[in-house]
């Protein structure tokens, strides 16, 4: 154990004593600080904008005068996608998914105004966030700092001496790996502190246990990722013929696994599970609606049957004699049917998207970068699942709004009653509040990704421990 720590300490010192590595580390440290600052600024402007507009929407809604409730159902509601405080850390799909959605009766709208839609194509190069630096650049730094960990010793002839002096391969490998991990943590620790401080400031001291748990898990996940990268570096260095060869292999795999493969896997998923286009999606819904009956068609059998049943139930001859507004009743029925059909199709569409994304999840078993990327997005609530749940909650809210207005219409409108109702009813409709998933359920959903990370960690440890069997001494 002492030998291991000695080697680790020595490795750490040598790396940081090297001028080039030292400055590279410092440079990356500065980049991280810049990323943290920018991420925070970006989060603030975005979140403030959204809060400001959602407040304005609420005020306008409550201040509407007496009206026919169906007018209010069409006036509708504008809701904005909330950003999780931790999203300053990882932008995930934030820039590619829309920000606001207009909710109205009878009609489901798209989530509009994504940052990507305002971009002229440079967004494809990526966005600067703490996660981007930690996921892409820190591994690169680890590769640069550690490629000659073993190969360098071999080239200088010190490897033979070390082994002769009774240091076992196992001690050497684990020690070297620990040393490199320690260097990456020297970089990582200030970021952790900075992140915690920033985030405490962001949430104005109102830190929920859930968010704290998310952050803790995030930090553990990144620590594991760096350990994996360090382990891979030492392993490659031990099998390569020369340190130049080790560097070439490491850089080549960095490019392949971190730049090319993610695009390929996602493209494969999207090609194997083709999603319907918007017009196909709309046409399929339309077709189902026609099967159910068409509330616009005066001769539609479904609605004619419904009318007859209601008349019979209340024992009246005309809808005007009903104790409630029949128009509201028909609309409530129509909304129920159309919302049901829409929800069904949306669920299927989301399922296709999930299948497409499952390629990236599966690929994390051959590519640790994808596992940390997925996990980090999920923990910072900037992933697809969060987006899908926003869509779902917004649609639920839309449905409740429409049905509440239909109920108001049935109760208070027509049949010798006035055509408008008091504006007091508007405030009864609660404001939209997006509910983030709990950290626990995120963990459950990310089981496969976490497993991948654990597998990689295990594989790396086994590799380091069995080094004597395959490592190159000469």
């Amino acid at each position: 154990m002492q030998t291991i720590l000695l080697i680790a300490g020595q490795t750490w010192k040598t790396i940081l004593r090297n001028k080039a590595s030292f400055w590279l580390t410092v440079l990356l440290g500065i980049t991280l600080c810049v990323a943290t600052w920018i991420g925070w600024q970006h989060y603030q402007t975005q979140q403030q904008q959204r809060l400001q507009y959602s407040k304005a929407v609420r005020e306008k809604w409550v201040s509407k005068p007496d009206k026919h409730p169906h007018r209010m159902a069409h006036y509708g509601y504008l809701v904005f996608r909330d950003k999780h405080p931790l999203s300053f850390f990882d932008f995930g799909i934030e820039s590619f998914s829309g920000v606001s959605i207009f909710l109205e009766a009878h009609k489901q709208n798209t989530v509009n105004f994504s940052e990507a839609g305002f971009s002229n194509g440079t967004l494809r190069f990526g966005e600067m966030s703490v996660a981007m630096v930690l996921q892409l650049l820190v591994p690169l730094l680890i590769f640069f700092l550690g490629y000659n960990a073993i190969a360098g010793e071999r080239e200088s002839g010190t490897l033979k001496i070390l082994l002769c002096q009774g240091v076992s391969w196992r001690q050497l490998m684990v020690g070297k790996a620990l040393g490199i991990i320690a260097v990456s943590f020297t970089l990582f620790l200030p970021v952790i502190v900075l992140t915690i401080v920033l985030w405490a400031m962001l949430s104005q001291g109102q830190i929920t246990a859930d968010a704290a748990l998310r952050l803790l898990l995030l930090l553990i996940a990144y620590a594991a990722y760096f350990a994996i990268c360090a382990g891979i570096t030492v392993l490659v260095s031990a099998v390569s013929r020369s340190s130049k060869g080790a560097l070439t292999i490491l850089l080549g795999s960095w490019i392949f696994f971190l730049v090319i493969l993610p695009r390929l896997t996602q493209a494969a998923g999207a090609n194997i599970y083709p999603a319907p286009s918007k017009i196909e999606f709309a046409a399929a819904i339309e077709e189902d609606l026609h099967k159910q009956g068409d509330s616009h068609n005066p001769d539609d059998p479904h609605y004619a049957g419904m009318k007859a049943a209601v008349l019979k139930k209340y024992n009246v001859k005309d809808v005007k004699e009903l104790p409630f507004n029949y128009g509201g009743y028909v609309m409530a029925e129509g909304e129920k049917i159309s919302a049901g059909i829409y929800a069904d199709h949306l669920r299927r569409l989301t399922r296709i998207y999930q299948q497409q994304n499952s390629f990236t999840v599966a690929a994390s078993y051959i590519n640790p970068y994808l596992s940390i990327r997925n996990l980090s997005m999920a923990l910072t609530a900037a992933d697809f699942a969060t987006y899908a749940s926003f869509q779902e909650q917004a649609e639920q809210y839309r449905y409740q709004l429409a049905q509440r207005m239909n109920r108001l219409q049935m109760e208070y409108i027509g049949n010798n009653k006035p055509a408008v109702i008091s504006h007091d009813h508007w405030a009864e409709m609660p404001d939209f509040r997006y509910r983030f998933k709990t950290a626990g359920s995120v963990l459950q959903e990310q089981g496969a990704t976490i497993m991948a990370l654990v597998c990689w960690l295990g594989l790396m440890t086994v590799g380091l421990l069995t080094a004597s069997k395959w490592a190159r001494t000469l």
């Binding site: 920018i38 507009y53 920000v99 305002f118 002229n120 494809r124 190069f125």
Partner: protein, 454 residues
């Protein structure tokens, strides 16, 4: 002389790296071509479906609502297609993010024109692979792999000492080596470009020439950068690390900074402002006196004053469309502000691109392919025109109690918008300029470095 180049060529192709590099470029190029084309083909098939669906929908609407023109227009929709250019498969650009087509009814345009297509945001995040990606990201890496040890390998193997002692001008050897590598890379680029011309059916016009110049200057820039780094005469490991660091800086870190800076420095709250104003502008009119709407409406369109407006009616389609118009009119200021903001963003990234060849190449390729933001904004303007045309055609009919049967509905079958910038954009010269500066710096260094035997 010719023999020397032949030998150099044979030497080069004896290395594994040479074969791997060429193979990777050809394979990924083929993948880029295939994926780019299949992406655009999918969009084309969607457009074909829309061409069938639109008249069908109009006929159904006529069947249901044909006896009330106002109601018919409330339901009926008109589509403008953002028709992909053949080049779009080469550089798909923003085409996955921006809708392939926009379908709008005669109601307020501002509430409809920002609707998006259905997309998997994760796929958008990872992005497409097209030939532009291969050129911008992968070619530089192969250039680095081919050149980083041109000088250092000779020095490290000890051959350089001998050469230095025997040759009169050792600089020539380096030049030969670099030239062979440049010819190989440019040859692969040419093969890919020619395959693209055939496979994507690219028109043989000025644009092809312009893109060729663009791509060659981009590749030359990377050769120049590589030369500059190896001209310091450092070790292979150092050269490789430095060049990869350059690649990360130029094609990853700096663009990522530019992006986040743009979206933070130029936020677009005007988008949400537009959505709100359009909605208020229209809906609040229900609770106001009809004259509020109609006075403003006639101020906008004095030509419609001649159609008598009966304000005693509780509801009329005349008033209704007047109110809808108010939504657009009152959102006009923030719409303009939004477009201005997007132009500012464009200007900023164009300025940043002068120093970043990767971004410059991407922006210019997207421009030629008609897949950039600028041309999407033009598409939106064209949609606005179509919408106005629909309004101008139907307003008089609605105002004079016309019948749906009188209208020529075929007039508004699927419309197509085609965008691509034919004009040469001289901004791409910045890449060549940077390359020349680097070449000059490299040449100066070489003169110094090559004097010494080590």
């Amino acid at each position: 002389m010719k023999r020397l180049y032949q030998f150099e060529c044979i030497l080069f192709f004896r290395t594994q790296a040479a074969w791997w590099g060429v193979l990777i470029l050809l394979l990924s190029g083929a993948a880029g071509l295939y994926l780019g084309k299949s992406f655009i083909d999918k969009q084309r098939s969607v457009i074909q479906k829309a061409a069938v669906l639109q008249p069908e929908n109009t006929q159904r609407n006529l069947r249901y609502f044909g006896n009330e023109l106002g109601l018919m227009l409330y339901h009926n929709k008109y589509t403008l297609v953002n028709q992909p250019d053949p080049w779009a498969a080469f550089a798909t650009g923003q085409r996955d993010i921006n809708p392939v087509m926009l379908t709008v009814s005669m109601l307020g345009l501002q509430g409809q024109m920002y609707d998006t297509d259905l997309n998997n945001p994760v796929s958008l995040l990872y992005g497409n692979i097209d030939l532009a990606f291969v050129f911008v990201f992968l070619f530089p890496l192969v250039i680095i792999a081919f050149t980083y040890n041109v000088l250092s390998a000779e020095q490290e193997s000890g051959v350089w000492r001998i050469i230095h002692a025997q040759a009169d001008n050792p600089q020539r050897l380096i030049r030969r080596k670099l030239l062979v590598r440049a010819v190989v890379v440019l040859g692969v680029a040419l093969v890919l470009l020619l395959s693209a011309v055939v496979y994507l059916r690219l028109p043989l016009d000025g644009r092809l020439l312009w893109v060729s110049v663009l791509l060659v200057s981009y590749l030359l820039f990377w050769f120049a950068l590589s030369c500059w780094v190896i001209s310091w005469g450092r070790s292979s490991g150092f050269n490789l690390a430095a060049l990869v660091a350059c690649w990360v800086l130029l094609n990853m870190l700096a663009p990522a900074l530019v992006n986040i800076w743009t979206s933070w420095r130029y936020p677009v709250p005007e988008a949400m402002e537009t959505a709100m104003r359009q909605r208020e502008g229209y809906h609040e009119k229900w609770d106001m006196d009809k004259s509020v709407t109609m006075d403003k409406f006639f101020a906008h369109y004095p030509q419609f004053r001649k159609y008598p407006f009966d304000s005693s009616q509780d509801f009329s389609w005349y008033w209704y469309y007047g109110m809808q118009q108010m939504g657009d009119d009152e959102a006009a200021a923030s719409t303009k502000a939004m477009r201005e903001k997007l132009q500012q963003r464009q200007r900023f990234s164009n300025a940043a691109a002068l120093m970043l060849p990767g971004i410059q190449t991407t922006l210019r390729l997207n421009q030629v392919a008609g897949t950039d933001l600028q041309q999407y904004l033009q598409f939106q303007s064209a949609l606005q025109q179509l919408h106005e045309e629909v309004r101008m055609y139907f307003y008089p009919m609605v105002f004079s109690d016309g019948k749906a049967a009188q209208a020529d509905w075929n007039k508004f079958a699927l419309r197509y918008f085609e965008a691509h910038d034919q004009r040469p954009d001289w901004r791409q010269a910045s890449i060549l300029l940077l390359a020349i500066v680097l070449w000059a710096m490299a040449a100066r260094n070489f003169r110094q470095t090559l004097k010494q035997p080590l």
